[in-house]
Amino acid sequence: MANLLYIFFTMVLVQNYVLVKFLGICPFLGVSKKLDSAVGMSLAVIFVMVLATAVTWPLYALVLEPNGLGYLQTIVFIIVIAVLVQFIEIVLHKYMVSLYNSLGVYLPLITTNCCVLGVTILNFTNGYNYVESLFCAAGSGAGFMLAMVLFSGVRKRVDAGNPPECFKGLPITLVAAAITSLSFMGFGGIMSSIFGIAA
């Protein structure tokens, strides 16, 4: 259990997907201007990440790898993710309308989002088993949410400021992201110390 929690919190803080691994930058910069859209997008991402891991892990570990077809990872994963996202959208629209209204619009954006494909591939690079992979995916999504929500607050302050003319708009947002990322560097080593697991 401690191992699972270690993985979860490492993904949220130490190996934050957006601020440390640079996955999912496009929605991070694009959708984080308003808080409610940031939260909506993050919830959709968590949802898709966990479900995608749940489907792709058995597919790779039980079908592709044993048959020496590891090189099909990219193609099969991306097809599965594209189908899964479309399927989730249809299911939500039918059975969970309130959820669809709040996060349904973000689902198509997630298909081509680096972070979902990234987490499914990284599960195998890190050598996690099924349960560990699920916790890793949940942690990655939670880390994405943390970064989005924090950054939407930072952006509000930055937008009210008065940077030099050439920095207005996207450049100053990127510099603000640099400082936010810097703050996350402070978490390095915390998880190993708390859980007593060597990094």
């Binding site: 691994k21 496009c26 298909t111 081509t112 990127l174």
Partner: protein, 216 residues
């Protein structure tokens, strides 16, 4: 559109540079630009995939039905990315180790999908190939510019050759995550400054992942 073939190529270099003007493909730009060798390798791989997928998508543009065009494009691109992955794994294992997960992530690189939707599905095979070449070179140029900055300041070297004397301390933060963001922001600000001076300023919105009617 009577565009000269050369103008299609040069379009992607400066005028519509995918990273600095269209703001596409930000993830690999930030992640891979820690060293110039990585940047060149990633740029080459992305250019290859871009050209090949543009050619195939353009050749099949009349055949692919509109409703399923997105999964079709993604599958085609994924095929070429797998090809590139295998080539890099076989012939450049050092690059493979350096690029890590970003090599397969070329399949969701907004540049490739974006150009497929914007250009390849509406233009001839030759034009699309040239556009792919131009965009790929533009991407590589932007990536190399950033990598040059980051590697020289953060590691005192360029392409592995030590340039800054050992006695001067390296600012290693530049090669890590915050340095990437900062460098990108700074580079973009310089481009905006240049644009303002030449009266060429454009309104930048993040290329992908912005839904209709949503603020940037």
């Amino acid at each position: 559109m009577a565009k000269s073939k050369l103008s299609i190529v040069t379009n992607g270099l400066i005028k519509e540079n995918p990273v600095l003007r269209l703001v596409l493909g930000t993830c690999p730009t930030l992640a891979v630009s820690t060293a110039v060798s990585n940047a060149l390798g990633m740029g080459a791989a992305a250019t290859f995939v871009l050209i090949c997928s543009n050619i195939v998508i353009s050749a099949l543009r009349k055949v692919i039905p509109d409703k399923v065009h997105l999964p079709c494009y993604i599958t085609i691109i994924a095929g070429f990315v797998t090809l590139v992955q295998m080539i890099v794994q076989a012939y450049a294992p050092a690059l493979n180790a350096a690029l890590g997960v970003y090599l397969p992530l070329i399949v969701v690189n907004c540049i490739i999908l974006g150009r497929a939707e914007m250009f390849a599905c509406k233009n001839t095979v030759v034009d699309s190939a040239l556009d792919g070449l131009g965009m790929g070179i533009g991407f590589t140029l932007a990536l190399t510019a950033m990598a040059t900055l980051r590697e020289i300041i953060g590691n005192g070297s360029w392409l592995g050759i030590t340039i800054v004397p050992e006695s001067i301390d390296r600012l290693t933060i530049m090669t890590s995550a915050p340095g990437g963001f900062f460098c990108f922001g700074f580079l973009m600000a310089m481009v905006v400054l240049y644009e303002t001076k030449t009266n060429n300023k454009i309104e930048r919105k993040i290329g992908c992942a912005v839904k209709e009617g949503e603020d940037e």
